[in-house]
């Protein structure tokens, strides 16, 4: 399934760019104007709006009940420790350092000593982990890796999915294609179609799975539904690529949000699945957004394969950025290395964050007018977002008439909601839905 390694890499195909070597052209004149990022555009418009009641539901970053970004207190404590003891800033390894890698492995694959299958895989040196430039960087690295070494370029992604998934995969030379996931008219998962659309695919594709808190819908599969999907994955010999950007945001407990990983580990341990990969980020669950702290892990077939894959990852990463940034990863290391105080503190802080999101979610639900519109899906959704089902026109009316800013797909980042604005928001939505 994997192509032999080429010593020199072939030029990777670039989508949608017309090469021109004509000397007549102005040097940079054939560079197209790329469309601006939608979410950032919304943030900019929000900043300019002078309405004191304005609400920003665009950005996928946590805000507290006062609408402010937070620093997890455990993170600040870790930084205090670092400030006192850190004496240098030398490069970490291309794939990060062993301690960070081991923390990720133990935290996620071994579920901190609660996953015997994962423990076995770690023990057998069958998991290769590399620190990356947060979740986006890990998606990019695995996409480039698969483009180089996996026989199949097709990658199946849920419809809808995080917009950057498609952009990253395409740019790395993969061919993203949607599988059915959500039915907007029913505001619900479309599980029958999901299965059908996977069944109809050729064998051997890559399949992207959101581990939890699906972005943008907030709608996750149940354990039973995962089992059914995993059956299809097995029979179709798909390569599972799991993206986990919101670990902990479904239940409040990061150890409970990795049911899919545990199932995958079990399949690998039972030799029902050969290999899979996981992209993971501490951006949201440790609030390390801007520090770019995350990882890619590849579960391999053997320790020999691990060695080869690790060397290929190094070769791949070196020309992109040489080595990952260490401030965020040192915070992670400091927290995890203090199992008795900082680690439990972080876990309870994360739990509190998720509780607030859940409270906001229910308050919004309570205040919504259910006479003409069924809002029950709100209560089924998990994580930072509610996928309202509002149309683009309704979202634009919310923006123009009520200074409520959200993306036009109707996704609301609910941490922008708090005690002070939830009623105003619900009222605005009610008015837009009614008319």
């Amino acid at each position: 399934m994997y192509r032999p390694v080429q010593i020199r890499l072939a030029a990777r195909p670039r989508a949608g760019v017309a090469f021109s070597t004509s000397a007549q052209l102005q040097k940079w004149s054939d560079i197209p104007l790329a469309p601006p990022d939608k979410i950032l555009g919304i943030s900019e418009a929000y900043v300019k709006d002078t309405n004191t009641k304005k609400i920003n539901l665009g950005v996928g970053a946590y805000r507290d009940n006062d609408g402010k970004p937070i620093i997890f207190p455990s993170v600040k404590k870790a930084e205090e420790i670092l400030l006192a003891k850190e004496v240098e800033k030398e490069y970490t390894g291309i794939t990060g350092n062993k301690n960070f890698q081991n923390i990720v492995k133990n935290f996620i694959f071994n579920n901190s000593n609660k996953d015997a299958n994962g423990a076995k895989l770690i023990e057998a040196n069958r998991i290769v982990t590399s620190q990356t430039i947060s979740g986006t960087g890990s998606l990019r690295v695995i996409a480039d890796f698969l483009n180089r070494f996996y026989t199949n370029k097709k990658i199946l992604v849920p419809k809808p999915t995080w917009a950057n998934h498609v952009a990253v995969f395409k740019d790395a030379g993969l061919a993203p294609e949607f599988y059915a996931y959500y039915e907007t008219s029913k505001n619900d998962l479309d599980f029958d179609n999901l299965k059908q659309s996977l069944q109809s695919q050729d064998e051997g594709s890559i399949i992207l799975l959101h581990a939890c808190c699906h972005n943008p819908t907030g709608m996750d599969l149940t354990a039973q539904q995962w089992d059914e999907v995993l059956e299809i994955i097995k029979s179709k010999k798909f390569f599972p690529l799991v993206d986990m950007a919101y670990q902990g945001f479904a239940s409040g407990d990061p150890f409970k949000d990795i049911g899919l990983i545990r199932r995958l580990n079990e399949l690998v341990a039972n030799d029902e699945l050969k290999s899979y990969a996981l992209c993971q980020s501490f951006a949201k669950n440790m609030g390390l957004y801007g520090e770019r702290t995350g990882s890619i892990s590849i579960v391999t077939e053997s320790s020999d394969a691990s060695k080869a894959i690790e060397s290929q990852l190094k070769k791949l990463i070196r020309p992109i950025y040489s080595s990952p940034p260490i401030h965020g990863s040192k915070i992670v290391e400091t927290i995890f290395n203090d199992e008795n105080s900082l680690l439990p503190e972080w876990l309870s802080e994360l739990d509190a964050v998720v509780s607030r999101l859940n409270t906001v979610r229910s308050k919004l639900y309570e205040n919504l007018d259910k006479t003409n519109y069924n809002w029950d899906h709100l209560l089924k959704q998990r994580g930072m977002f509610v996928y309202t089902g509002l149309s683009a026109e309704q979202v634009i009316r919310l923006r123009n008439e009520f200074s409520v800013y959200a993306t036009e797909d109707g996704r609301f980042s609910i941490s922008g909601i708090n005690d002070k604005n939830v009623e105003y928001l619900a009222d605005a939505i009610n008015q837009v839905v009614k008319a």
């Binding site: 070597t21 000397a23 560079i31 394969a305 070769k315 040489s322």
Partner: protein, 400 residues
């Protein structure tokens, strides 16, 4: 058959092998001059005093860890531009994007030029080895010329001139502004002027890689002269900037790419292309190092202190070079050792052969890169004498 059976194990960077060997050697005599990181007089890593202060300030006025902007932290970008462009930094035709340090800047520069349709690169050998991999990755084609004449132990300027005169229009030249890695051999101002004029005349695209600004003369402004000179030529060019070395921020991955654009109508195209590329690589550059750098840029006092820190480091490097040279004179070591004085920056391209280097490791606990590059900062009063004697011994071919 395993799905991974066709994967080979890639050879590690040769420098890694040397580092591993060095790590296993516990001799008190050990001298390790391999890696490109500045070491202090006592052999330890250095946190620049100014960075220490900036850390305290940042910790007290904690901005948190929110997402920054895709183009980077504005105060960092502005300050970084001023550092490398001097008085031209405030001009409106330079697009700056924060990158994953210097490596990430080179990655962005090459991929950006791929988008623009240009892919023929000219690289002078020996070069920083990562150039070739990055050019490959961007889908470019690398052509080579000789930067350094190993026999004559000086720049082979004719080779560059020939490349500049024969390269087709829109070819890209990847040049280092100062403290050339690995040779330490930089162009004179007159040579830069010749290069600049030819690049303009022959419509070539310069990428100026500046990873050691300040370490040549001790004065960052002076070291950035080639960048200002190119700016004055009114040509399109790119500058890749790293704060790994001159702020000692290595692992924080702090750097920037600057694109100088003559046709101002194209500024939005350039910016949007860079942002779109970056979003597909990692979305945002890491915040912390850039915030530290920005603290230094925006304070006049810290900036002064930074200037002094860089001057101090450079002075120490110069002193070591003089001591090494002096020692070889004393020992009457066969050969011409003047290049150690002429070369600039962290590295001395010694001309020692692979065999010499091997003997140094095996018999003398001295570890250097296989191609003879020596990190000058790894030497100090406690080991210079030992080091020079060891070199003298292997050069005389009398290793025991």
């Amino acid at each position: 058959m395993s799905i991974y059976s066709k994967l080979q194990i890639e050879p590690a960077d040769p420098i890694i092998k040397v580092m591993v060997r060095s790590a296993q050697d516990s001799s008190p005599d050990k001298v390790d001059v391999t890696i490109g990181v500045y070491k202090d007089e006592d052999g330890s890593s250095l946190t620049f005093p100014v960075v220490k202060k900036a850390k305290e300030i940042l910790h007290t006025n904690d901005p948190g860890h929110s997402y920054t902007t895709m183009q980077g932290i504005p105060e960092f970008n502005k300050g970084a531009r001023d550092v490398v462009f001097g008085e031209y930094g405030k001009n409106d035709n330079i697009v700056t994007i924060q990158t994953i340090s210097g490596t990430g800047a080179i990655y962005m520069a090459t991929n950006f030029l791929t988008e623009a349709g240009w892919k023929d690169y000219y690289v002078g050998n020996p070069a920083w080895s990562n150039y070739y991999q990055t050019i490959d990755f961007a889908g470019g084609k690398a052509h080579t010329y000789t930067h350094y004449d190993e026999k004559a132990q000086k720049i082979d300027f004719d080779s560059l001139l020939e490349a500049l005169n024969t390269a087709p229009a829109n070819s890209i030249f990847l040049l280092q502004t100062c403290c050339h890695n690995p040779t330490g051999a930089d162009f004179s101002k007159d040579q830069w002027k010749t290069i600049g004029e030819l690049m303009k005349k022959n419509k070539l695209i310069p990428i100026l890689d500046t990873a050691y600004q300040g370490f040549a003369t001790g004065d960052k402004y002076e070291d950035a002269w080639p960048v200002r000179y190119f700016y004055e030529l009114n040509i399109d060019f790119l500058v890749c900037q790293s704060f790994s070395k001159n702020l000692g921020l290595y692992g924080e991955r702090t750097g920037a790419l600057h694109v100088v654009v003559q046709d101002r109508n194209l500024l939005p195209n350039v910016t949007s292309t860079l942002l779109a590329l970056f979003r597909k690589i990692c979305s945002f550059a890491p915040a912390w190092g850039a915030r530290i750098a920005a603290e230094v840029f925006k304070s006049e006092e810290l900036t002064k202190e930074w200037d002094q820190n860089v001057a101090d480091v450079t002075k120490r490097l110069r002193t070591i070079r003089e001591k090494v040279h002096q020692k070889f004179v004393e020992l009457k070591t066969p050969g011409d050792w003047s290049p150690v004085l002429v070369q600039t920056g962290l590295f001395w391209y010694s001309g020692l052969t692979e065999d010499h280097i091997e003997q140094l490791a095996v018999h003398h606990h001295v570890y250097a890169t296989t191609y003879g590059r020596i990190n000058v900062s790894g030497l100090n009063d406690a080991n210079i004498d030992y080091f020079c004697r060891a070199v003298d011994t292997v050069v005389r071919g009398s290793a025991n």
